[in-house]
């Protein structure tokens, strides 16, 4: 048994070489599989159920992949559609697929997998002991679950293969693990299960596991004992080092990867060069665990933000910026007596000093200017902007010393405040046990 999976890139929307995709199609793949997102872009996308990438970019790339699917006459599969994999993001990509089908005259069977979890289902599972925390443990409660704008369960190979068994030309899945979209089909055809998951982890970011990461397209051939990985771009090479190093990527443990129903163990894996651009891997192990669990992700609304930016160029103020910020805060608190620190916050991040590392920063900067980003968070947008506006006079003119001439600081924008809208936070780091892998997911097939 040999199953060839063509992987166009690490995520739909990132771009890939169409020439390399065409070279891949000449290898007669059995399926085209691509990931559509992850948590890596932050909680806003799951919070709102929207895509990070533009509709135009997504439509252009998805249209190329739908054409490739038609030419190869094989299934096309995407996981974590629309960055976050929420039901609304699945519907968004389904609508794009329907538009393309109508515009290009394709008749298709499309199966969707929806992964959203009603809060009540997770709350019931929690009360019956079927929800377990992962490390680091974050608090969970019925109220927290009810406050989530989206909760998704990460689908694995069982759910994807159920959708593929419907005979669909295209499967658009909500949140799946990054690896499951690649591992599913080879496992359904009887390939080595450990090799399927391992090859999937190596290939999840497309050509990132090769010498030419930006080229996107790779082909993985799975069989009964292992897998072989080959980049399709003529200038790209896979080497035992580039391939094995990908186990490090975005992975806290480079030897084990937990998935629905078990974990991948690669400490005994052997990586060998088959040619100057193909690597073969054997010795990967899949260890089943019971009960069958799926990981949960949830995002909850965490207030509204308004930003102000001011740039300090005066050398004395650059040198005394911390004291100046303390004076700005004190001036604000003296005037804005309604400020409630339990529900609202004002944070100053000084760019050019320690904006990204905060208290961990250990370098002293001698930057000629400092950017001060003021972040106001409050329960409503109006309150956040009111607070930011009340801070403005001090940000514009507050002097270090009472007896000095009025200073003025540089504002790059008018209005001085920028409304960021609602903000969200990831709030679940848990797994949920299922009696049947399919029970928490819904499947729908449409003909277009």
């Amino acid at each position: 048994m040999l199953v060839k999976v063509l992987i166009p890139s690490g995520a739909l929307g990132l771009g890939f070489s169409e020439d390399a995709l065409n070279l891949g199609l000449k290898k007669n793949p059995d399926i085209i599989a691509i990931d559509g997102g992850s948590t890596d872009s932050g909680p806003f996308y799951l919070g709102t159920g929207t895509s990070k990438y533009s509709k135009a970019t997504t439509k252009k790339e998805w249209s190329v992949l739908m054409k490739a699917r038609a030419e190869a006459d094989v299934p096309l599969l995407i996981g974590t559609a629309g960055t976050c994999g929420a039901d609304s993001a699945v519907d968004w990509l389904l609508d794009i697929a329907k538009e393309i089908a109508a515009e290009t005259g394709q008749s298709l069977k499309i199966c969707t997998i929806k992964c959203n979890q009603p809060a009540a289902r997770v709350a019931n599972a929690l009360s019956s002991g079927d929800v377990s925390p992962l490390k680091p443990e974050v608090p969970i409660s019925e109220e927290l679950l009810a406050s989530c704008t989206n909760i998704v369960a990460l689908a694995g190979v069982e759910q994807i293969n159920h959708a593929l068994e419907s005979g669909a030309d295209i499967v658009i899945a909500g949140r799946t693990t990054d690896t499951a979209v690649i591992a599913a089909y080879p496992i359904s055809k009887g390939c080595h299960v450990g090799a399927a998951w391992h090859g999937a982890k190596i290939g999840e970011c497309g050509a990132l596991c090769t010498t030419k990461p930006g080229s996107g397209v790779i082909l993985i051939e799975f069989d009964e004992t292992g897998f072989e990985i080959t980049p399709m771009d003529p200038g790209a090479k896979a080497t035992p080092r580039t391939v094995s190093a990908h186990m490090l990527y975005e992975n806290s443990n480079p030897y084990q990867l937990y998935e629905p129903g078990g974990y991948l163990e690669v400490s005994q894996a052997k990586y060998s060069a088959v040619s100057d651009k193909t690597v073969r891997v054997e010795g990967s192990q899949w260890i089943e665990t019971a009960p069958y669990t799926v990981k949960l992700e949830g995002a909850t609304h965490a207030g509204y933000q308004t930003l102000s930016h001011v740039i300090i160029r005066d050398a004395r103020y650059v040198e005394n910026v911390d004291r100046w910020i303390d004076l700005v805060k004190a001036d604000f608190l003296a005037k804005f007596t309604d400020f409630n620190p339990n529900t609202s916050s004002i944070e100053f991040r000084v760019m050019g000093k320690d904006a990204v590392l905060g208290h961990l920063e250990n370098r002293n900067s001698s930057a000629p200017e400092l950017g001060v980003m003021v972040i106001v968070t409050a329960p409503t947008q109006e309150q956040a902007t009111e607070i930011a506006r009340a801070l403005n006079p001090a940000l514009l003119h507050l002097a270090l010393d009472a007896d000095e001439a009025l200073p003025t600081f540089a504002f790059p924008f008018s209005p001085a405040e920028t409304e960021r809208g609602p903000i969200y936070e990831f709030c679940l780091n848990h797994v949920m046990a299922l009696n049947d892998p399919l029970e928490a997911f819904s499947f729908d097939t449409v003909e277009v």
Binding site: G42, P43, F44, L248, N362, E425
Partner: protein, 100 residues
Amino acid sequence: MPRLGALVDKVRSKNAGPFWVTVDIFCKQDGSFERICESLSTQAVAALYQVKPEDTLRFDIPSLDVIKFSFPRPNFQGTRFDRDMHGAAIACLLEEFEIT
């Protein structure tokens, strides 16, 4: 004392999900891996990031000449006080860390 970054090919950091960050040190393939492993204590790295040593996972991987550290993010990704959505700048502190 030399900066770690001057002795190795690359230090990179990235999220490993919203709750963890991971730092990979790619040593040069010139036999220096073992010496760097010995000079870099887990306690020193945990102190640099102000995380508990017992929460810090460490992997010394001779086949890749890589030392990997993973630890829970002090501010979870994208929360109000998180400053680095992808955990990108975490690597800089270790890159600049002076080792004996």
